[in-house]
């Protein structure tokens, strides 16, 4: 059994190695099949491993499979094994990554068919590598192994976002993604260092045990507790990876990559890493209430900010990108109010419908030969029926209409936010839900309803750059490989929420029960603290209180559904019935509209405040000033001085015997004079 875990990341990694080396000579069928097969294999092994895990007796309160592959990094007290660990949280993650990853691979075989064979192989090698690193990330049993995956997905996003490398904007976007992620890593590395110096280990389970046993939090730096500082630093890393304020700027640009890559980044890999990392270290974060507050506030603000930007964007992928940022904000809100299971639940349902939406948008773009601007779409409902109906399901799911997946997970988050005493955050989150409903239906209407505005020659730069303008009659719906992926994702988007039906609706919230042990320290003594705590929690909720809670929960649920419907209504009024009204509004509030259209000018702000000054100072002050001016100036100055004095002294050596005789004579006179004078 033990060797099986390694196979999960290894299979796609082998796919990468083969496709990156010899695959470029093979046909597209072989390379695409190999990559998809590797992912499907990883999915199969994952299912088997999770099945095995479920059959285990809980040890220390949690079912888990450990595998130590080898000692990776060892120096003195720092002993880092390349260790993998499958527990309920990791189980959910690997199923999402391999399952949805396989579908995205399958979809890509059709989507990328226009590429040449070597480029096709390159694409699939990166895609495999991406999945492989994400699997290392979620299976890693300690921080450094997680960090391998963490940096690895950063690298793959760099490679895939910049896949069309001849396009400067794509290359820029790839670099931006990597650099912004590295800014987050700055905090992440410091967090790791602080944890290691304090606790002497970087193993997740050992850290959790030590933190749980800790009586009082040792203070570091100005009275702040060590866990507060460490978790805040880790959270900086999470904001980079999961595109939260202030490091969200890379994700919208990331749609420069091929559309299936966006699906992979937004649904299965990469952006979920920050949420996952917090869940993985739930014990640490639970002991840092200040950090949790910060996370909740950042989360809800990100959700609102991204939602408002999403309202006015015209690029179909950009709207979806901001929608992801917004939904990730929801997940962070959940983490911040301590609803770790709720956050991960939303991560899991979101993976289905966001993959579905991106792949659906890809099908649209594919049909329109690269058109991404919704102003040049419209009326596609009848032309692309498969795409339309699947896209509709995804939209309803993300908006949060019962009984689709998004409803349950979003509602869980809203309820937990409210019930943990954050009514203001709850209100803001509901407002974000309204925005979600509005911009998603705006997108749906602009793309599939109304008049066909896709006039030939209106090709926007994007995938298939330079392709011919869409011909009116050549529209074709998603080919089989793409259609299969869409349909399977529809099933997920509809059904995935059923694992988390709340008690208030007569369900038993199985996903929470399943995940909960991962969020507690493993008991070393053999007791089951997770279960004990759950029992205490249950005792606290006396039956009558539970009844009142249920009523409130149902009321809140009703509110959020009404809000979603209101959002749809708004979109219908403004973008379906009378689009001119939306234009009028935009004109009326042109300042606000411009602000949103330009994404609050955050990129411009960063550029003006950080990028340009650093470049300028480095060039004119450090390089030309300090290096060439002061340091080299003084060194060369010494050189010139020496040379100058040498020139003076050289004159003394005239070669004239009389001059020498004269100087000897003067010397003798001086010495004699000195002695006589004395």
């Amino acid at each position: 059994m033990t060797s099986v875990l390694l196979l999960i990341p290894l299979l796609p990694f082998l796919g990468f190695v083969i496709n990156a080396t010899i695959g470029r000579r093979w046909s597209k069928g072989v390379t695409g099949g190999l990559a998809t097969g590797a992912m499907a294999g990883a999915f199969g092994v994952s299912v088997y491993a999770v099945w095995t895990m479920l059959g285990l007796e809980p040890a220390g309160g949690v079912r888990a499979i450990d595998q130590v592959v080898f000692t990776w990094l060892a120096s003195d007290a720092l002993q880092i094994p390349f260790a993998l660990r499958l527990d309920p949280l990791a189980a959910l993650m690997i199923l999402v990554v391999t399952g949805i990853g396989t579908l995205i691979h399958l979809y890509s075989t059709a989507y990328m068919h226009d590429e040449t064979a070597p480029e096709f192989a390159r694409y699939f090698s990166y895609l495999n590598l991406f999945a492989s690193f994400m699997l290392v990330l979620v299976l890693g049993a300690n921080f450094p192994v997680l960090f391998i995956g963490w940096e690895g997905v950063g690298l793959c996003s760099y490679l895939l976002i910049g896949f069309y490398f001849t396009k400067p904007s794509a290359a820029d976007a790839g670099k931006k993604a990597f650099v912004v992620n590295r800014i987050g890593d700055f905090g992440f590395i410091l967090g790791m260092l602080l944890l290691f110096t304090t606790f002497g280990t970087l193993d997740f389970q050992q850290l959790a045990v030590k933190v749980a046993e800790m009586s009082a939090e040792p203070a570091v730096w100005a009275g702040a507790g060590v866990l507060t500082v460490a978790t805040l630093l880790l959270f900086v890393g999470a904001t980079g990876k999961s595109a939260q304020i202030p490091l969200f700027v890379w994700l919208p640009d990331a749609m420069e990559g091929p559309t299936p890559v966006s699906a992979l980044i937004h649904a299965a890999t990469m952006v979920t890493a920050g949420v996952y990392m917090i869940g993985r270290n739930a014990v640490l974060f639970s002991h840092a209430p200040f950090t949790l507050e910060v996370i909740a506030i950042i989360g809800v603000l990100t959700a609102l900010m991204a939602g408002t930007i999403g309202l006015v964007q015209n690029d179909i992928k950009r709207v979806l990108a901001y929608s992801t940022v917004s939904q990730l904000g929801y997940m962070f809100l959940a983490m911040g109010v301590g609803a770790f299971a709720g956050g991960v639940f939303h991560l899991y349902t979101h993976a289905f419908f966001k993959a579905l939406l991106f792949l659906g948008s890809g099908a649209v773009i594919h049909a329109l030969h690269g058109q991404q601007d919704m102003r040049y779409m419209g009326g596609l409902k009848r032309k692309l029926p498969i795409t339309f109906w699947t896209f509709l399901v995804g939209t309803i799911a993300i908006v949060g209409i019962p009984p689709l997946a998004g409803f349950f997970s979003k509602d869980e988050i809203l309820w937990k936010t409210f019930s943990t005493g954050h009514p203001v955050l709850w209100g803001l989150a509901v407002l974000a839900a309204l925005l979600t409903a509005t911009y998603m239906f705006r997108l749906l209407y602009m793309t599939f309803y109304g008049s066909a505005r896709w006039s030939p020659g209106a090709s926007a730069p994007g995938d298939h750059a330079g392709a011919k303008a869409p011909a009116l009659h050549g529209l074709h719906d998603a080919p089989p490989a793409m259609a299969i992926a869409l349909v399977v994702l529809v099933i997920g988007s509809v059904g995935a929420g059923l694992f988390g039906v709340p008690h208030a609706l007569g369900g038993d919230n199985r996903i929470e029960t399943f995940l909960e042990p991962s969020f507690h320290a493993m008991s070393v003594t053999g007791d089951t603290p997770a279960l004990a705590e759950a029992a205490v929690a249950e005792a606290e909720h006396a039956p009558e209180a539970a009844h009142a809670d249920t009523q409130t929960e149902l009321l809140l649920m009703f509110t959020s559904v009404m809000v979603a419907l209101a959002g749809i209504g708004l979109a219908t009024v403004f973008f379906l019935k009378a689009p001119q009204r939306a234009d009028a509004m935009a004109g009326q509030f042109s300042g606000l509209h411009r602000l949103l259209l330009n994404k609050y000018y955050v990129d411009e702000l960063y550029n003006a405040v950080f990028v340009q000054p650093i470049k300028g100072v480095s060039t004119s002050v450090l390089w030309k000033g300090v290096d060439a001016g002061i340091i080299d100036g003084s060194v060369n100055g010494v050189g010139l001085m020496v040379r100058g004095w040498s020139a003076v002294l050289r004159r003394v050596q005239t070669g004239s015997v009389r001059a020498y005789a004269m100087s000897i004579f003067l010397g003798v006179v001086t010495i004699l004079g000195y002695f006589l004078w004395r």
Binding site: L73, S75, G152, G162, T166, R182, L193, T197, I631, D632
Partner: protein, 532 residues
Amino acid sequence: MALTLLVLLPLVGGLLVLLLGKGSEGRDRLVKQTALAISLATFAASIWLWMGFDPASADFQFVERYTWLPDFGISYHVGLDGITLWLVLLTTFLTPISLLCSWESVNQRVREFSFFMLLLEAAMIGVFISLDLFLFYVFWDAMLIPMYFLIGIWGYEQRIYAAVKFMLYTMAGSVLMLLAIIWVAYYHQQVTGVISFDLLDLYALDIPAGLQTWLFLAFTLAFIIKVPVFPFHTWLPDAHVQAPTAGSVILAGVMLKMGTYGLLRFSFPMFPEAALQFAPYLAVLAVIGIVYGALVAMVQPDMKKLVAYSSVSHLGFVVLGICAMNVNGVQGAVFQMLAHGVSTGGLFLVVGMLSDRRHTKLISEYGGIKAVMPKLVGMFMLITLASIALPGMNGFVGEFLIFVGSFAWNPWMTSVAVSGVILSAVYMLWMFQRVNFGPMTNPKNKGLRDLSPREWAVIAPIVAMCIWMGVTPGVFLKPMEPAVRRVVEQVRGVLVPVNAALTLKTTSEVVLPDGATKTTSEVVSAAEGGAR
């Protein structure tokens, strides 16, 4: 004889090459082949040494000692420990690669070029294995001469300026070091009655703090010019830009490590009190260098200059790790020396291959070349990733260990140093993007050919090492640890407990041999009390 053989092979081989004569193209070819064969034989010999090396021992191995100038206490004393084992292997690994990379680009005075390269190799090995300060100094200065000529004869346009600047900077430090060497040997005579230049004798001296300060500063100045530590670095960009590729590879790959090696072998353990006193100041310079080097690298228009400034930044990490003076920090520092040697050597090789084709190193002359040379760009990518310390590549291991070590020592300075992680990604990826991505705007780049078999032979070993060292760093860290521990103990004057087994227990507790349990700080303070 094993170690002496390692010096003699390239030395005698170099003289042999000189005898081969010159003139015809065929003769030049023979010269190149002979030189390459000699360097490969040296590499094989060093591998053989590695096989015979006892990884569990902290002592010097393969020790040879012959009296040389008995009246002055000078002897031919050489040996290898877990630190120098790797530095010697780095030298013997990079020399054949450098010879092979010059196969086509060096066409004039081939005989002399090959001679100087082999002479340089002999001198560099000599520096690493010397256990006698006089012998060390001889090799140290002997190393300058071939490098001076390599830059001055086979370099680019401003080679004379660069060669002279390189020579003057290094000599300025060397002179001070020579004075300090004589002084410390003389001090040995004052205390014991016998003059001695032997390192092990000098380690045993108990030098008063006041004298330690002066001697430490003299040695350290020589070494930090060599590293180079900010603000003594300005010779480096000029030397690199003007040096031929082979010179840059050796310069960045091995010679810069002479400085950090010197700190580790001489400055710190010989004058521990002064070292501990000055370490924070040195670390401040190192941290400034990390950030400063990275920022200046970012805005360089010339690829070689960019890589040169990146070395200032990367070696700042090494110096920081040494200043932390704990096992993690120093092991990280030594590992980083090796990693930087391989990856920066690789970067210079790639830049050399590009400039062989286009005769320019300006970033703006390139753009979009991935379209025509995907293989070269692929290798370039891997080396870049190693250089920006992606986990799984060699750069990460060194940096991470240094961070762990220096964070325990001084979290604030480490926090500033970690920003280098961001900056390295910025300058490397920006350069990489401008050279390789984007549309091909310069028509001169259209017909560039991809890697030739010879170039594969040059670059493949480098890339393989970048990955090998990143995936299984234990191979390199394990034989190094006893020697590193010895150095730390020497400097700190404290026995450092072997706490590898510690992680299984709670780290704050150490199980002592007598079964008692104490916290780490108690053990350390007890040991400190015993040592003082």
